[in-house]
Symmetry: C2
Subunit: 369 residues, 2 copies
């Protein structure tokens, strides 16, 4: 999707890919197949690139620092990206900045989880959420522990050899996301704050703008995201995932420093997409207008389901709803895997939401009319 | 631009290109460099493609017929495409269908031009427009002859070894274009009729929808284009370029059977772009909604001008107008060459038009603020 946005900008791409089946590799004019965990592969790849950017945060932090020390331009830079790579570093830094987060602490074993829940000053209580500080995504690397007994039996998080972060389970009313884009010389734009509906720890639907969000709270979320982008010296797109609580507070859940699933709606719903603005930022070009083009835009992820071949369902959805925007990633379909998304926009939220829902369910095989 | 539209559809592309500097070759994952005038090159290229489509009409008609005879799927097919390749065939067929065209006749030399202007039944009068039936575009292969004396001195058109079509010079008030897309099983959609402003025989600006066009005339233009698409069995995008006369008539000027400059506004201005709908048609997928997304959309071509390097001007235009959509083609800049286009949209036509105009002029070096 970033390559797609780069075409009108005349940007030349080289993609470092896991393998030829990779989504980006299928559409890129120049592909290097290699392991992003290998420093020499990264070095060779970077040679001749003006700037390196990312579509995931799994490149080892030490490699990123090494590349920068050797003069490679990374955007975002290693010192910013570490906050999207390591939840421990992120929590410490945001807390230092006075940005509201769930109560949290690094814990070293089951007994320490119990202390975090029951004995610490301002103890978090049960349940407690445990997260490995690195390597988790889409609900992976996350455990919910509901009692001291359960904590005693909880060994998995401590086996990975990665520090474990304990957090209070926030009693949120919904999840929001604030997307901002910042360029190296400090220009920044903020997209409308969206509601992100999660199912089984995976983003299912994004509604732009977040329905019923009071204007002051929306502004607060945008300001918070712009401040994080500035303080952490982020370049490119930053998604700040937030919990909204019943008493009107916003707590930061996660950060992502790349085009993000909560911003996919911008492709069809904003004047400038997150992908185009990410590229503009990464290249230090002036940023584009982030405003919405329709009163409501709804994006729903398409997960792999019963159909190994999406084509017939795809055809049905196009015929049923000519205004629907379908984005397929060219991935092989596996159950539960994000293989694409659909976006609908219009003036009536219920109708727009139903159109996106219907198409995603049909493509997954949940409904067949 | 077609490749860009194909990414979300998951379409795999192979591009036959003149050379590695070609716009499409710069962004395509698979490029064959070869001569489209060579039948064996075309044969080898077609092997393994599900369907072949075109971004120009210069592939020799005989080669297209040969490929079809060998079982290659062309969309549009050779029998349709000939009407965009040969103005003589196009005029004969449209006249047979009763579709209004300028008075016209194939002429065999200067004296025959005089007869066409002065002696034929319903003589066209002076000036007369001469066009080679094949190979012309953007004002090339076109001559305006203003008198019998001038006709006697007009030898160039008759030197090319290609039949020459004489046409009356229509006293039009403006040029319009009706874009339609038709799929192999006969579904069709019509875009809003646009005004196409030509400068020196080259499309300069397109305004969507055509300002002040009476609704019945707009409908008439759309119906006419849909009828041409059906009667000629066009698949994919068809642009019908029209003359609007002071007495409210519409005469067909040219046909193009591919995504066309008069439809570039749809990328940013319509729910489904001409490129996406061309692909959907070519693949016999259900077509997308052609309706506009803003009250006014204006596209202005960027011609190569004083700046061999567009980058600094590009940066200025982005900074000045964050809502402007810039599309660069990755071509080397040569004076007068179309190197990109800019699109603006909004509620106020004068403002939208001025934004597009300003950016195109700035990129060309006509103004520098």
């Amino acid at each position: 999707m970033t390559l797609e946005a780069g075409i009108p900008l005349g940007v030349g791409f080289r993609v470092l890919s896991d393998g030829p089946g990779d989504s980006a590799a299928r559409v890129a004019p120049e592909v290097t197949v290699g392991d992003y965990r290998d420093l020499d592969t990264l070095r060779a790849f970077a040679r001749g690139c003006d700037v390196l950017t990312f579509d995931h945060e799994h490149v080892p932090a030490a490699h990123l620092r090494a590349l920068e020390a050797e003069g490679v331009t990374l955007r975002p830079g290693a010192a910013a990206l570490i906050h999207a790579q390591d939840k421990g570093v992120m929590r410490a830094r945001l807390t230092e900045l006075g940005i509201p987060c769930p109560r949290h602490r690094i814990v070293d074993g089951p007994e320490d989880v119990r202390r975090f829940a029951e004995a610490d000053e301002g103890a978090a209580g049960w349940p407690v959420v445990l997260k490995t500080v690195r390597g988790g995504y889409d609900g992976k690397g996350v455990w919910v522990v509901r009692s001291a007994e359960a904590a005693r039996a909880t060994e998995d998080p401590f086996r990975a050899g990665v520090p474990v972060l304990a957090e209070e389970l926030v009693d949120f009313t919904r999840e929001l996301a604030a997307g901002v884009v910042r360029s190296p010389h400090g220009q920044a734009v903020a997209y409308p704050v969206v509601e992100s509906v999660q199912v089984d720890g995976v983003c299912d639907t994004v509604i732009a703008p977040a329905p019923g969000l009071p204007e002051p709270l929306a502004l607060h979320a945008q300001e918070l995201a712009l401040r994080v982008a500035k303080e952490l010296d982020v370049t490119g797109h930053l998604a700040v995932e937030l919990f909204e609580t019943a008493d009107g507070r916003l707590l930061v859940n996660e950060l992502a420093m790349r085009p993000h699933n909560t911003g996919h709606w911008t492709q069809d719903g904003a004047v400038t997409s997150q992908f185009a603005n990410h590229l503009r930022a990464v290249l230090d070009l002036p940023l584009g207008d982030p405003r919405p083009r329709a009163p409501w835009t709804v994006m729903t992820n398409v997960l792999g389901g019963d159909y190994p071949d999406l084509y017939p369902a795809f055809l049905h959805c196009m015929a049923r709803d000519p205004g629907l925007k379908i984005h397929l990633y060219g991935k092989d379909v596996k159950p539960g895997r994000k293989v694409g998304h659909v976006t609908a926009f219009g003036a009536d939220l219920d109708e727009v939401r139903e159109r996106a829902r219907h198409a995603a369910d049909y493509l997954r095989g949940v409904i067949d009319e």
